[in-house]
Amino acid sequence: MIEALSIWVAAGLTLAIMSFLYGDNPVYKFAEHLYVGYSAGYWLIYTWHFTIKLMVIQPIAEKQPGALWLVIPLFFGALMLTRWFPRIAWMSRWSIAFTVGIGAGLTLTGAVHGYIIPQVKATILPLWTGNGLTSFNNFVIVVGVITTLIYFFFSKPHTGVLGKTSKVGILFIMVAFGASFGYTVMARISLLIGRLDFLWSSILKLVHFF
């Protein structure tokens, strides 16, 4: 019974959202606001369980080594919430500054060590390998990377050799965007397949129930 109710509600909410395809309507708005409200409550429970309970309270309660120091980030986390009070909202800047600093440091090292260097290394390919197809492929990859980077160099006007090279670059970029678009269509259709399959199997389940 509970499962049947769940199927009815889930299918009903699915159709409520899909009603937007006909036009904006109160049924869709109801479903939309329910989704936003439920998500907001979910975030609260999530934060309590995984941040406060498992990361702070449990280590302190179980007297793990160094657990008491967690009171400090707990304090800074609470400072973040001072944004709710305009008079002392400036205190949240300290917590934000901490997260921004750490984030910037991580991004700086990650981008260089984890992306730029390996990707540039992977672009340094032999233009002649003895195999015609491999050599051609390597040439296409190298030309693709260089002409794309040249296209995005806007410090000089795109005239002369720079202009012609950037024109080749834009053609490569269009190929990349075309591949992305093709894949994006695939992704969106897959999501629709998921929902329609759910609706169909819900109908079958409910027919089976009754």
């Binding site: 979910y42 980030p73 990859i141 693709g144 075309g178 591949a179």
Partner: protein, 211 residues
């Protein structure tokens, strides 16, 4: 000083710590990095609460002022309270709100999953409509884009093999060779921009996060 200089100093010190400890993982720097990352995790968890607060305040204001569509704010609060109350009950009853048998998970599967999935599934309809009404081969660039898109769309599904058995291989070549260069070029450009922005943040040149 408290409102500007100290936050800038915090950003600078923490950013430098992370960069230095990347190069020197040995004690005490390794330990310093671990502690900084632990603190970051705890503080980061609280940022989620700020978004929830904005939403709750927004709908409360809408309700109080009886603005247009205020009754939907009641629906918002119903969803919020349903989620919160079942979460609290499940947390007390099972010690873990995410227990598969809890009411919190029941409503998660009944309400959140179908709503979230369907919201994104609607995009399929809009992309089909856009394909018909907006995607035009107006010039050589757009033609390259559309031809590549058509080849990838056909080559990555079984019907492509049925049309021409070499089409999946052609698609594979486009993905692994032809489009790889520009994708890499774009991402290198983005990474360089990210590096520049990170440096600006650490050095205090970029201060918009303090507002």
């Amino acid at each position: 000083m408290l409102k500007k200089q100290i936050p800038l100093a915090i950003t600078f010190i923490t950013g430098v710590i992370i960069v230095v400890t990347f190069f020197i993982p040995h004690p005490p720097f390794g330990r310093l990095q671990q502690d900084a990352l632990t603190w970051y995790s705890v503080i980061f968890g609280f940022t989620m609460l700020l978004g929830v607060d904005s939403l709750v305040k927004f709908h409360y204001t809408k309700l109080r002022r009886r603005e247009k569509g205020w009754w939907f704010s009641i629906v918002f609060y119903c969803g919020f309270l349903l989620s919160f109350i079942t979460g609290v009950i499940s947390e007390i009853r099972f010690g873990d709100a995410f227990n598969i048998n809890s009411s919190f998970m029941y409503f998660y599967n009944t309400i959140l999953v179908p709503l979230q999935s369907t919201m994104f599934a609607l995009l399929a309809f809009f992309i089909a409509s856009a394909s018909y009404r907006a995607f035009r081969a107006r010039n050589i660039d757009a033609t390259f884009l559309l031809v590549t898109a058509v080849i990838v769309m056909l080559g990555r599904v079984p019907v492509g093999y049925m049309l021409w058995h070499k089409l999946p291989d052609l698609t594979s070549w486009i993905l692994n060779v032809l489009q790889l260069g520009p994708m890499r070029g774009i991402m290198i450009g983005i990474s360089l921009g990210t590096v520049a922005m990170s440096l600006r943040l650490i050095l205090g040149i970029e201060r918009t996060y303090l507002s």
